[in-house]
Symmetry: none
Subunit: 209 residues, 4 copies
Amino acid sequence: MPTAATVKKGVRAAQKEARPKEIVEAALAIFARDGFAGARLEDVADRVGISKGTIYLYFENKEELFKACVRETLGSHVKETMEMAATFDGPTPDLLREIVRRISARLTQPAYRTILLLLISEGQRFPELVTFYHSEIIGPGIEGLGGVIQRGVDRGEFRETGLSKFPMMLMSPVIASVIWNHLFGGNVEIDPAEALQAHLNTMLDGLKA
Amino acid sequence: MPTAATVKKGVRAAQKEARPKEIVEAALAIFARDGFAGARLEDVADRVGISKGTIYLYFENKEELFKACVRETLGSHVKETMEMAATFDGPTPDLLREIVRRISARLTQPAYRTILLLLISEGQRFPELVTFYHSEIIGPGIEGLGGVIQRGVDRGEFRETGLSKFPMMLMSPVIASVIWNHLFGGNVEIDPAEALQAHLNTMLDGLKA
Amino acid sequence: MPTAATVKKGVRAAQKEARPKEIVEAALAIFARDGFAGARLEDVADRVGISKGTIYLYFENKEELFKACVRETLGSHVKETMEMAATFDGPTPDLLREIVRRISARLTQPAYRTILLLLISEGQRFPELVTFYHSEIIGPGIEGLGGVIQRGVDRGEFRETGLSKFPMMLMSPVIASVIWNHLFGGNVEIDPAEALQAHLNTMLDGLKA
Amino acid sequence: MPTAATVKKGVRAAQKEARPKEIVEAALAIFARDGFAGARLEDVADRVGISKGTIYLYFENKEELFKACVRETLGSHVKETMEMAATFDGPTPDLLREIVRRISARLTQPAYRTILLLLISEGQRFPELVTFYHSEIIGPGIEGLGGVIQRGVDRGEFRETGLSKFPMMLMSPVIASVIWNHLFGGNVEIDPAEALQAHLNTMLDGLKA
DNA sequence: CATGAATGAGCGTTCATTCAT
DNA sequence: AATGAATGAACGCTCATTCAT
């Protein structure tokens, strides 16, 4: 039976456990707006409603906070998608569309987009993050997409084209439109899904055996 | 034939005239490495072999120096390419290949790549640069590529596809590969020309009427 | 009787509350010695025994610190003196002596002298301070002194003289002697009180009806 | 017969001789506006229409330039006035009025006012200037005025008052009104001559035997 | 656990001064 | 004599980080 004290403690404990996530979320917003060097930890603290010092109870320093932002957001979605692909049982074009759609959906989520853009900007300064990103996301992604294209060729659905060498290029319209919207969003917004659709349509026609 | 006097004068004058370009080149390297906020003007100065104060003889402040870097590097190459396209007289696929090849060649020049990446990172903080970039490069580029695709459709060489709505997506593999190499260059380098080639081959097949 | 806790808290709180005054005092000394432009905030910090950055926890910038010095020191003494004058009930010469003595006492306090001299030096760069000074000190002072002279004339104690037009000129020997001592103090010090006495004696004789 | 060359040389020589005075005049204006520390030599150079470096052909450094400004402007007017006084042959009040009027006229000349204010602001940093000022202007002035007052007492025109001890206090309304106008000139301008007149009238009545 | 006052290293910018021309 | 490009020391201000409470 929880006493008043233990209840309080429970609230506190819950708060304490939620803190890192709160901080990471706030930090993500500030890093997105100001870049790594330009971001001020005070702005992060203000956004969470805590004091600057508190951040240091959960993260060693600014750099570690940044890394946590990236690691936390990335997750292992691609791996799961690829596992799905392995058991897929239908025409390869449909499979390809589904895979690309999934990755694209992920890439265009606000938090993920932010991370993508931050990795582009700050990647050089955080090689371990890039390595992490590569091993978690990019490597499996390439392998998976490559496998699917090969499946299409093997099943006589696709011609043999240079694309098998650069399967990640299938994602290029999504990446390009994310960047496009980030830069020129104010003027002409591109719908990444639509751009991707158009791109895929053309590509799949081009790939057709 | 220059006299001693003109030579002497020339040395001074030449040095002075060369300064801004030297500084911009050095700044470009430092900005590329450290970002705008992270860059130290002292590093720029050291790279040129001058003192920090000298930078201020040529640029009002850090921000103006950054803008100068962008403006200087961008130039008006796209416009010229598009003017070429207007007078081209042959099969549209060939024209498209040539245009994309040219833009791609430009985009993959080291200085230009740097600017591209810097615009992605810092564009939010320099809206006028983005506007400038849009009006000098992107606007004409879209218009030009769109016209060429339309030309193909008009001449019965291309089918009508969604691509006419997003002509800039033709460049997406180049942009994606530039970013790819920037991030993962250490691991798996993509040759943008080759990636582009593969992409174009597939696309043009897909576009074929 | 304060418990250990309140004492502890008190020490902190007291320290924090005392900081602005400490800084202002130190700044006053440095500004007096070096002028506004010549003063170094590091000297101010050293004088208080804090670090440069700490000043910025209490004052927005050098200019605001300077303004705070002036505002803090000026106060509203003149107004109070003038209110006293309104209820005075005796011969006007005695009243005039008392008023001038009071203002003089204030003007010759070290901090006040410093401010007076700083206003002379830097007033042009801080028009709002001058306006503040005028409205707090000078305006009421003129009005008050003028009223007292008029009182003397009305009561048949003073002749009508040009002095009614420039009542602040009654203070001129004090101002002049403050400046005199500031400049030549090392050589021949003037006792402002004595100078004022001599001046007033002569003036009051001259004013006598 | 001067050739074109010698004429040119003559012009140059004249120019060269005029330079220091030009520079001092410009410097005076800048020092008056910005104070010693705040003044920029480039502003001085711009005002003359020369380059920064040229100043150093005529003055060792900023400090010497400042000193030159003061020394050049001060001159020895007081001494001459006092010599006049020695041969004056009429009622002492008239003599006193004349002397004070002369000094006052000098003190209110723009250049001289500027110097007076600069000495007040910067005197502490330039003790030798203060000494110079004292020996050239103040010392003779005190002695002269004191002598005149004594003359009045000796001739039975003045009473013995404390003023003989502080003869420079006779000038206090002029000094005070110069400062007054410097600070509050925008609001209520005082005519130093008129203020002096009023002051003298009262004083001389008060001094009357 | 949380605070926030304090630190101090660091950077952008200025400007008196120098010196090759 | 005059220039003006270049220097470099200095200073205002910021902010990640620490630590006593």
